[in-house]
Amino acid sequence: MSDKNNWQKICAEIQERSLGNTYLEVKNATSLWAEILKCLTTASDEKVLKAKQDEIRKLLKKGASSQINKKGYSEIMGGGKNFNRTQDIPHFKMHNGCWFDFAITIDETGKSAQIIGFDFEIRFPQKEGETKVPFLRIDLNLPDHNNDVRNLRFHLHPSNDDIMIHSPPMSPLEILHMFLYGINIPDKPRAS
């Protein structure tokens, strides 16, 4: 077996392990939406999130899936689609200067509801001289996406849209908590 084939086998094992250990089963889309609303409201009360309660309500929406045109597929959206990372598209702002948005797709056709796709992206404050917005994106692509064949359905982008590495087994609520409480933006960057 060549090293590349061996890497592909490793990728399959990592993906299986990562997806198998991620909490993707939920009671239903409405419960998950309420959990997210509670998490964001608490972060606002704790002065972690800049958005006030009414702003959170304007940014957090739910409805039928915009990507799967079948009954029983739902979506939760936090902020607007923002491919070019511009500040004029609605998003959640944090007091530490970071800003983020997300979208989650839920399959409610089975006995228990399953999260089958999401994207979460947090952008960090730009340093002097930086021309591009630094970011971290964590994606779970929908089943049968191209990246599923490459065993990279569940991946993260470390500040680069073209680079993908396997994601740790974090559920949407865990990622949201990490955005809110787990990323420390130091006043002085570490010396390189």
Binding site: E35, D45, N69
Partner: protein, 208 residues
């Protein structure tokens, strides 16, 4: 009575489900009761949604109690309930007398727990206001009218998502539809979303 309602500020106070949940989450400790007035046809679906979500905001055991067997039975069920926060519904069959009984027994709502929420129709709300004045006074301004669907994506927000997709790809709606009709649509899920926002989800089946 209208002066009392005006004083309490209960007229036309709208609340969406998400706002109501935030209110429940930020209520002070103690025996706090609220009313949400809902279109009679929506009561069941609203109660189902609230059963799944209130517990997240009340942060305690939450139970649902039906009032279909009358005010005395409801109050007895409340007395026996083990849950700390209660969702009361099916009060639409109550006449003036049932509301008067409820009003007279209102002290039994105070179990030194966290209170609860009544989901009622406009008609039941009117009967309650006129026949349970002590309970209404106790509620204070906590009577809300459900603003339905505020948490659902609006047409304006759909348009904004379409504009973002157009800017991202540099393509027009017509170009994307043409690509889909010719089975040349890229596999990125955003193109699927684009077709659905254009009400052309039927073209997605053709891509397989």
């Amino acid at each position: 009575m209208d002066n009392l309602l005006s004083f309490l500020g209960v007229n036309n106070k709208l609340s969406s489900v998400d706002e109501l949940l935030q209110r429940i989450g930020s209520r002070p400790d103690g025996n706090i009761w609220m009313i949400i007035v809902v279109n009679i046809d929506d009561i069941e679906s609203v109660v189902l949604d609230l059963q799944d979500t209130i517990v997240i905001f009340s942060e305690c055991n939450t139970g649902t109690i039906s009032g279909e067997s009358g005010a005395r039975d409801l109050i007895n069920q409340i007395s026996k309930a083990l849950e700390e926060y209660l969702l009361l519904w099916q009060l639409e069959s109550w006449d003036s007398n049932e509301w008067k009984i409820f009003d007279a027994l209102r002290s039994r709502l105070d179990k030194e727990n966290k209170g609860g929420l009544l989901v009622i129709s406009e008609q039941a709300n009117s009967l309650m206001i006129h026949n349970a004045p002590n309970f209404v006074s106790w509620l204070g301004a906590r009577i809300y009218y459900l603003q339905k669907g505020a948490e659902i994506l609006s047409d304006e927000e759909c348009d904004r998502r379409l504009a973002a997709l157009q800017e991202w790809t540099g393509k027009t709606n017509d170009e994307v539809i043409a690509l889909a009709e010719n089975r040349q649509l890229p596999t990125d899920p955003e193109y699927g979303e684009w077709l659905i926002l254009l009400n052309r989800g039927d073209l997605l089946e053709r891509q397989k």
